[in-house]
Amino acid sequence: MTNSKQIKIYTDIMKAEGEWAAKTRQLLADHKITMYNLIGSPGCGKTALLEALLPLLAANRRCAVLEGDVETDRDAQRLGHLGIPVSQIITSGACHLNAQVVHRAVSELPLEELDIIVVENVGNLVCPSEFDIGETCKLAVLSVTEGEDKPLKYPLLFREAGAAVLTKLDLLPHVPFDLDRCLDFIKRVNGELSVFRVSALRGEGLDAPADWMYARSAEPPQPAH
């Protein structure tokens, strides 16, 4: 006779992810490292933002970058001249970085020599927001060449992020992007979010996000006398 049985389990589907993320958090805490998880659409200017921001960050903090891409190490090559450790993670098709892969990549960095790690996630507004990779803080990146209603369409990222960076402000006069509406939409989704407006191309507005990122990181240890 065939029986059926109900198993009530209430198991968190992302439990395994959460365990890897917790390991990474512990590793970061042990080394007093702050890790930012940069999330935005393909082409929103995440790599250009890093190219402009990292020299500012690196002036006061010891930085490294983890580059997540579906294919190629082109982004890592772009950042190669900055003179900081850059590791490329190729996801081979996956639309986001997962906690286990990031844990391995973080473990391989020279952690004793770092204060800040910036992870550039795979270009995608939806999936990376769903996956905790052990970061200290998510940063949402949105460009003025996208729709101003993105925060309403993809609220999870804007709810989870610690700050949002609006990029390509230099293009604002040329595109039908309503900045005030966008800021209003962000406010409706997450009124406590810090929003920075930058033009990486012109090097404008970068001090504010750099200061914000410093403020959340530990100072490098002073050399012993």
């Binding site: 006779m1 065939t2 029986n3 059926s4 049985k5 109900q6 198993i7 009530k8 389990i9 209430y10 198991t11 968190d12 589907i13 992302m14 439990k15 395994a16 992810e17 996956a94 639309c95 986001h96 997962n98 939806v126 999936c127 769903e130 996956f131 309403l152 993809y154 609220p155 999870l156 709810r159 406010k187 409706r188 989704v189 997450n190 009124g191 406590e192």
Partner: protein, 122 residues
């Protein structure tokens, strides 16, 4: 398509639970999961991933029940409970933006219905 990764985790968890029963003939009939609406999980995508990922496993042919949980929040200033509509996280009573999410982030397996032959022992 984050549904595929989510589904991979679901399948792994269910196979582990089936293994714990220690019955070679145990098969899954139904899996019920709760999904908070903040996760933007599309039913069609997760059902398709489930179909693909359960093939040739003891989960093959089982039914996936999706229970959606609407997004709710609480105003940190006046305590008002808010049913969030159209992703507007604003307090309708005092217009505060300081709201905390109380529901809508769920992502868990609630129940597994398993069939097995009563005669068979370990």
């Amino acid at each position: 398509m984050h549904e595929y990764s989510i589904c991979q985790n679901m399948v792994r968890i269910a196979l582990d639970e089936l293994k714990k029963l220690n019955r070679a003939d145990a098969r899954l009939l139904t899996m019920r999961i709760k999904i908070g609406d903040l996760h933007a999980v599309i039913d069609e995508n997760i059902l398709m991933a489930y179909d693909v990922l359960t093939r040739e496993t003891p989960l093959a042919g089982s039914r996936l029940e999706l229970v959606h949980v609407p997004v709710e929040a609480r105003c940190k200033d006046c305590g008002e409970m808010i049913r969030v509509r159209d992703n507007f996280f604003l307090c309708p009573r005092c217009e505060s933006v300081r709201v905390e999410i109380t529901a809508g982030r769920e992502l868990f397996i609630e129940n597994l219905e398993v069939s097995y032959d009563e005669q068979q022992t370990d």
